[in-house]
């Protein structure tokens, strides 16, 4: 139990109700895009998404009206570019219709289907059919793919859409780096992915995963055993924040759940071993009831680390009342089909919990649109929501 309530530990966060305007206003949304999403470092993938030379991933970023090519070069470096051909603006890589498109070009070159212009993995325009028919002022060297700043940390791939980011990735992350120092993300890279378009503000999505007040009610179905919990280890790192959930008990050991857990312990709701030591800052007192963490890397990347598993959520802004939710669950790769089965059981239960979590989001957006209420009441345990409001609001209000 925290000895002092969270808000008493952080009086700078205030304790008044927070306004609803940030969740509804088109103008506020436009400012968030301009002042936050087009300037800050954004998490767009893992190194394991594009492990080999010539591998690429194209990620749609609707808020920026772009799709980003992340490509691994022959020199093993990852580079990022806008997916726009310098000829007449076609998408160099045709997307498959999903939010992410994966592929590999053995020669590590990217060719646009429209007229066969070819770029290498460093973005250089290396081939233009009928180049001699272009005017003499046309210079291939000035028409490479438009680059985007990219960097990596702990296996995560991050981009920055600003022409000149004001901070390096490490400077942006600040205390988050030390917080996770030593957490073995790269030992658990087998990822299960779900996504959905949700008609709510991106911040509503993040709010939902940053408290445990909802566990006894929302998760009465999937996590009945986790209803008795407490929170601790609240920490702020500038705009970033972290909180840990301790659970008194686990889900009841039902037959299929138990069989799955015995083959491969992949569920946060069942007792597991501790395959690795946690970083110092995570479960600092080595309490046996520690469950998992909720950490938010500003603006929109949630990293939930546990023992032997971790999962992430992202809510990408699309409009003031629309977002894209991506949920990913990371485990050590199975080595047998029975383990794959066991993982699929655990991920199915977690997927269902996420369906429970996302259930209230559109109703909330619709109800707030009524204009009937102008503020939201937050309790002490909802300190992460309060920190989120302050962090976003300070950036929107600043120049």
């Amino acid at each position: 139990m925290p000895k002092v309530p969270f808000l008493a530990q952080h009086p700078e966060l205030g304790n008044a109700p927070i306004p609803v305007e940030p969740y509804l206003s088109e103008d506020y949304y436009a400012k968030e895009i301009d002042k936050i999403f087009r300037r800050d470092w954004l998490f767009v993938g893992r190194e394991e998404d594009i492990p080999d030379a010539g591998d690429f991933k194209v990620k749609r970023l609707d808020f920026a009206h772009t799709s980003v090519i992340l490509v691994r070069g022959k020199d093993k470096k990852i580079r990022a570019f806008h997916n726009v051909c310098r000829h007449r603006g076609n998408k160099v890589i045709t997307e498959t219709g999903g939010e992410e498109t994966f592929g590999n070009k053995r020669a590590a070159v990217l060719a646009c289907r429209f007229h066969g212009w070819v770029y290498d993995a460093e973005g250089k325009l290396i081939n233009v059919p009928m180049e001699d028919k272009f005017p003499t002022c046309f210079d291939r060297a000035k028409n490479g793919l438009v680059p985007i700043h990219v960097d990596t940390w702990a296996g995560f791939v991050c981009i920055n859409l600003a022409k000149k980011p004001t901070k390096t990735l490490r400077e942006f992350l600040g205390g988050v780096v030390d917080h996770f120092e030593g957490y073995p993300f790269d030992q658990m890279t087998h990822v299960h992915t779900y996504y959905a378009h949700i008609n709510c503000n991106w911040k509503t999505g993040i709010d939902a995963f940053c408290e445990a007040y909802h566990v006894p009610t929302i998760h009465a179905g999937s996590f009945p055993g986790l209803a008795d919990y407490w929170l601790d280890d609240f920490a702020t790192y500038g705009d970033h924040r972290s909180l840990a959930i301790y659970t008194v008990d686990m889900n009841p050991p039902t037959p299929v759940a138990s069989k799955a857990n015995e083959l491969f312990a992949a569920s946060i709701a069942l007792k597991r071993d501790e395959p690795f030591p946690l970083p110092k800052a995570i479960n600092p007192n080595r309490h046996e009831k520690w469950g998992f963490e909720q950490t938010v890397v500003f603006p929109n990347f949630l990293v939930h680390v546990g023992q032997g598993l971790w999962f992430t959520h992202q809510f990408w802004p699309v409009a003031q009342n629309k977002c894209l939710w991506e949920g990913r669950y990371f485990l050590k790769a199975p080595t047998a089909n029975s383990q794959h089965w066991a993982q699929r059981y655990a991920v199915t239960l977690q997927r269902n919990a996420w369906l429970e979590d996302t259930a209230t989001m559109e109703d909330t957006q619709e109800a707030l649109l009524s204009g009937a209420v102008s503020y939201l009441n937050l309790q002490d345990e909802e300190v992460m929501l309060r920190h989120a409001f302050n962090a976003v609001n300070n950036r929107v209000a600043a120049e």
Binding site: G98, H190, V191, H192, T193, Y194, Y195, A196, H197, I198, I218, G221, S222, P224, N251, T254, P255, V256, A257, K259, A260, L263, G327, A333, P334, T335, A336, N337, S338, H340, W341, Q343, R344, Y345, V347, T348, L349, R351, N352, L355, E356, T358, A359, M361
Partner: protein, 113 residues
Amino acid sequence: MTINLPEGFEDLAPFAAKWARATEYERVAERRRSTPEQLRAFYDALLNRLPDILKRVDAYPLGKVEGADRHLFHMALSLAEIAPHIEFYKADPNVPFSFDEERLKGHHCGVPD
């Protein structure tokens, strides 16, 4: 299409056409169009044979279960899909109080089912 099962698993034959589905999307769809009684009957029958099925599929390399055993594996994955509905949701074919499952996309991971 007949779903053949390996010898010794004839008891599961009545469930094969409905539950030997190759993708999560199909297994979710079957679950949602089931009655509570269908879910219970399938759960009881599969749970009884689960250890045998998992032992058989482990004879294959990861992701490469073949032939009639693959149908069994898909049925085991259907059990994984419906187990929470029997073990937690009181045989409700839907996840109670949830986001519209039709709109959920994914799932993918590196291992084929």
